[in-house]
Symmetry: none
Subunit: 243 residues, 2 copies
């Protein structure tokens, strides 16, 4: 039985099926390490679709920078780790999906806490007003690679009973009509303390990329304050700027 296959009866276009299939395929250890993909003619035959259709899907991934083609030698996975582009505002879930990496939630805690001074000031609320705190350890199925702590403004209207396994911004948009459009971020490096090292399964003292995000709605009103600790080896933040 073949691992990946395409359903010719499905209403989903073949090239779209091939696309998601490729996204999964390139998660495999071998390909990730530079093994060339099956050549187009062969692969098309195996999937029982035409080469043109297959190329349509490959092209898309090439455009996205996930695959690199080379004449004669073949097509392989581009050699870069998960990155975040500041231009196209993607959430963690979206980004992982784009790369065909399944997300695993290793930990998820929801609590109501009293904000510290800084947070109360950012949210412009009284210090005794409780806010929702969401802690998550997420990553690919085999390893956690980020520890998030989020605080939400009471205005958002979260109860704490929501399903936080779903994409967060999707939920905010649909169920709470909250649209996040502006984010101010600060990025620095820190050493993992015992607690975080444990969560991310790292030796204490390992370097982490630390990202603080202040998220706003279109009226520049504060929505979320987010702290992210990324395992350095599997995360790169990319920025493109012009002047």
């Amino acid at each position: 039985m073949r691992k990946y296959s395409i359903d010719h009866k499905s209403p989903i276009p073949l090239h779209a099926q091939a696309e998601t299939l490729l996204r999964q395929l390139i998660q495999e250890e071998d390909y990730r390490n530079g093994k060339v993909l099956p050549n187009e003619v062969e692969l098309a035959k195996k999937l029982a679709i035409s080469r043109t259709t297959l190329r349509q899907s490959i092209n898309k991934l090439v455009f996205e920078g996930l695959l690199v083609r080379k004449k004669r030698s073949g097509t392989r996975v581009a050699q870069n780790v998960v990155s975040s582009k500041s231009n196209n505002w993607l959430s963690f879930s979206q980004e992982m999906k784009l790369r065909g990496i399944p997300i695993k939630n290793f930990e998820l805690h929801v609590t109501w806490v009293t904000p510290d001074e800084e947070l109360a000031a950012f949210f412009e609320i009284k210090p005794d007003r409780k806010v929702l705190k969401l802690e998550r350890v997420r990553g690919r199925p085999d390893e956690p690679f980020v520890y998030f702590v989020s605080y939400f403004h009471p205005r958002v209207g979260l109860t704490g009973e929501e399903d936080f396994k779903r994409p967060l911004y999707e939920m905010l948009e649909h169920e709470h009509s909250i649209i996040a459009t502006l984010s101010k971020e600060e990025i620095s490096a820190v050493a993992a303390n015992d607690d975080i090292a444990d969560k991310l399964r790292l030796p204490a003292g390992s370097p982490l990329l630390f990202r603080k995000r202040y998220v706003f709605d279109p009226g520049e009103r504060a929505i979320e304050y987010n702290l992210g600790y990324y395992k350095a080896s599997s995360f790169v933040y990319t920025v493109e700027s012009t002047r």
Copy 2:
């Protein structure tokens, strides 16, 4: 006489010609204001290329977000052309000045080196062509906090005799007519190795913010490849992004 046309004898692929042609076409007032482009079948006929080939070019522009397709109504220029690029284009010197912190150069080495494969590829030069390497350890008067390694494209025309204590981009602009306008950056965290730890007066293994910059001129030609290792405690990278 037709305004735009395609040369079937040119060595440039038809779809590439069609692409540049489209890019010109959509500069026209009418299209920019929302007029639909000629439909694919017609346009293909006019340009004397197949619809498939034409679609190849259109697809590229659609992917770049320049064109928007709509069934039945046709294809037109996307209306949201305002790009939301981050504006943090500041050089180290400018940034320090802005904060009123005097700069001290702790180390400064200039050498000519043979580029490694990656660098030669980025600069698009032969691997035996030597490039100028500039290493600097800089910081505030009392403590170093960044270790830079820069490589410059030979095209820039640096001799190695210049005064590298001056603001670099100012010098490039005035003395070499090189204007850096685009920079692509990758930010991650690493642990300090012995060498760098020593330069920055830190214990080995301390977390550092590691910033790779690819700097380009207005023609998107590579100018500089820069590696920066920042002492985590004294450097934060900020980004603002909208969607």
